[in-house]
């Protein structure tokens, strides 16, 4: 009986400390100069995306695509001339937000000499890193949702399009996806901030990983796929390899969160996407030209969602473990 009471008490204290740390980290983000940068970056994504949507929307309608009914979602995917859409901007720039937020999470405390003061307080060490991660996720959520809803609102005002319930739902799920995507990069950045002693090193390492995922994975996928399943010859085998080559490249590509996010967001924001894999003519025979319901689209990208969330958790778990095992000394 007494033991359960003390356990309950220590649990409460634990929550209290996590709350204090979370509030402090959140306040740090909001008061810091870095927040200006975030807002600038987010505003850039929002304004550019909005501009692209409004100016490109009429073309999209005149193009007479079958999904003209989902005009509201087009706000996020339409690009005009050379201006990229909100979605592609998010895929490209979102990681920066996560990286900026986390790249010096632990090592700046270490170099400032506040970390050993912090760990000598009566708290479990994991609360420190969890507090930082949760604060980052919280800020990300607020920013992503406000920017997404801002576009939606501006789009409604500018074009008079009223979203249907299904569209609004798709938008919400998409924005959640954005948060998890940025959360993954935040976790990676925190990981490097525990491993690297200097903030600059960890920032460079994060950017290297981001470049690798955004550019080199697709190159690598093509090279590997060609090596395993050569195509382009005139013989029967290369014809047979065509499909395998495509799948191999796709599977390697899917290791990259950038690609995962791209596929998932395309499916969520475009109900006419019926499959994320290659479809043969036989499979298509007898299929009606129609759009997917929200549930079906989510079902389609469920593996992407779990994979992205798993990647985020793995990155965070690794940083958690490495932080717990580190010995904290004076700077």
């Amino acid at each position: 009986m007494e033991q359960t009471i003390t356990q309950e008490k220590s649990k409460q204290r634990d929550h209290h400390i996590l709350k204090v740390l979370f509030e402090k980290e959140t306040a740090d983000f909001i008061n810091g100069k870095r927040m200006l940068l975030f807002i600038l970056l987010m505003a850039l994504i929002t304004v550019t995306g909005l501009y692209a949507a409004v100016s490109g929307l009429s073309d999209a309608i005149e193009g007479g695509s079958s999904s003209a009914d989902f005009l509201f979602l087009k706000l996020f995917t339409v690009s005009a001339n050379s201006i990229p859409s909100y979605n592609s901007l998010m895929a490209l720039m979102g990681p920066f937000i996560g990286i900026f937020m986390g790249f010096d999470a632990i090592n700046s405390e270490r170099t400032e000499g506040t970390l050993n003061r912090l760990v000598s307080q009566p708290l479990y060490r994991d609360n420190i890193i969890i507090g930082k991660f949760l604060a980052g996720i919280f800020i990300t959520t607020v920013m992503v949702f406000s920017s997404g809803l801002l576009i939606a609102a501006a789009g409604i005002l500018a074009t008079g399009i009223i979203p249907t319930g299904a569209e609004a739902m798709r938008l919400m799920i998409y924005l959640c996806f954005c948060v998890i995507y940025i959360g993954f990069w935040l976790a990676v950045a925190i990981l490097f901030s525990t491993v690297c002693r200097h903030a600059a090193t960890s920032a460079l390492a994060c950017i290297a990983v981001w470049l690798f995922c955004a550019i080199f994975v697709s190159l690598l996928a093509g090279i590997l796929a060609d090596a395993f399943y050569p195509v382009g010859g005139n013989d029967m085998e290369s014809l047979m390899n065509e499909m395998k080559n495509y799948y191999c490249a796709q599977n390697i590509n899917r290791l990259s969160p950038y690609y995962l996010f791209g596929e998932a967001s395309a499916t969520l924001l475009n109900p006419s996407v019926r499959s994320v894999n290659a479809v043969t003519m036989t499979q298509l025979s007898g299929a009606l030209v129609s759009t997917l319901s929200v549930g079906q689209s989510v079902l389609l990208v469920w593996p992407h969602l779990t994979a992205l969330a798993a990647l985020m958790l793995v990155a965070f778990a690794v940083s958690y473990v490495s932080f717990m095992r580190q010995e904290i000394r004076a700077r």
Binding site: S10, R13, H16, I17, V20, L21, K24, D28, N31, G32, E112, G113, T114, N116, R117, L118, V119, S120, Q121, P122, L123, Y124, E327, I328, R329, A330, R331
Partner: protein, 330 residues
């Protein structure tokens, strides 16, 4: 107010405490006892394992052998309970530079479970105590090192600890700052009855403030006791050392000293003779010099101040343990 060990209970106690980094043994079977209300100085050169010891006392580093007990709690196992009772002032303490001194203290206070009115009151009280009331609303990034150190003490006192561990508290502070700090440390021990363990390689400051001290070399405690006890132990080692200056300082003076019974060695540095002798010759020497018409300007038994003690013990440790350079600390 030197507290005798027989009366007060032991607050910090380590038994066979050992920490290894690879092949290097940073702390080697340390047995240390610190009693309630005393100021204990852990003295030793850089890399002797002082910081490692303090980290193990707080449960921030896991010992490879032995145990550290604080207030009856095992530091490695009941780390949270220990940290609630023990304040730690790290070497070169840091604060969040974007926050003011007051905000930094408020954050620590909330982590220690203080809220509202009690918290604000404690902050004001402690700022006044370390003489930082005016600087409390300045950003911590603008503080000088001495101010950081003082704020550090306020920060440690936030949780009202029974034991305070300070790592090199005087490093990089100007003499006036050190004087204030030493006064504050004494005050914490005498008025509040807190137990203080401080590690340092700056002997003179420690000498002034500590009740007892331990000399720590290569992870081993080679001597422990009050200043007098340490000095006595050295004196027993054999030769005593005298410092002498006399007027007139001529060549004959040297011969007179040399002719004394028991003198082993004479060295002259600037205007002072350093005389090593087999036993205490002060009485005989002053008599002899007076008879020869010399006026003694300065005569002092060396070895009773910490520098001498320190040097002696290091010589001893060097002879026993070899002179390999240990650089495990930073």
């Amino acid at each position: 107010m030197a507290v005798s060990g027989n009366v007060s209970p032991a607050v910090i106690q380590t038994k066979g405490l050992t920490k290894k980094y690879g092949s290097l043994t940073a702390v080697d079977h340390l047995d240390l006892t610190v009693y309630k209300g005393e100021v204990f100085g852990l003295l030793g050169p850089n890399g002797a394992g002082k910081t490692t010891t303090t980290l193990m006392l707080l449960g921030l580093a896991e010992p490879d052998g032995g145990e550290a007990v604080i207030n009856g709690l095992d530091a490695a196992k009941a780390s949270i309970e220990v940290k609630r009772k023990v304040g730690y002032l790290p070497d070169n303490v840091g604060f969040y530079s974007d926050m003011t001194g007051r905000e930094n203290l408020r954050f620590t206070g909330r982590l220690c479970g203080l809220e509202g009115e009690a918290l604000e009151q404690r902050i004001e009280e402690l700022l006044a105590r370390v003489n930082m009331t005016e600087a409390g609303d300045k950003r911590a990034g603008t503080y000088s090192r001495g101010m950081r150190q003082r704020l550090g003490i306020a920060d440690v006192l936030m949780k009202d600890p029974e034991v305070i561990i300070m790592d090199e508290p005087t490093l990089g502070i100007d003499p006036e700052g050190i004087r204030e700090l030493m006064w504050l440390i004494r005050d914490l021990a005498e008025k509040d009855g807190r137990t203080i363990l401080l590690s340092s390689h700056q002997l003179h400051q420690v000498q002034r403030v500590c009740d007892r001290m331990g000399i720590f070399v290569h992870g081993k405690m080679i001597a422990c006791g009050t200043l007098e006890e340490l000095g006595r132990e050295i004196a027993h080692e054999g030769a005593g050392t005298l410092e002498l200056s006399a007027y007139p300082d001529n060549i004959k003076l040297r011969d007179v000293i040399k002719g004394m019974n028991g003198v082993l060695e004479i060295e002259k540095n600037s205007d002072m003779y350093v005389i090593r002798s087999a036993f205490d010759i002060r009485r005989a020497l002053s008599k002899e010099l007076a008879e020869q018409g010399y006026t003694i300007l300065h005569l002092r038994q060396a070895g009773s101040d910490l520098d001498e003690i320190y040097r002696k013990y290091f010589e001893k440790a060097g002879e026993e343990g070899g002179t390999d350079d240990h650089t495990g600390e930073k």
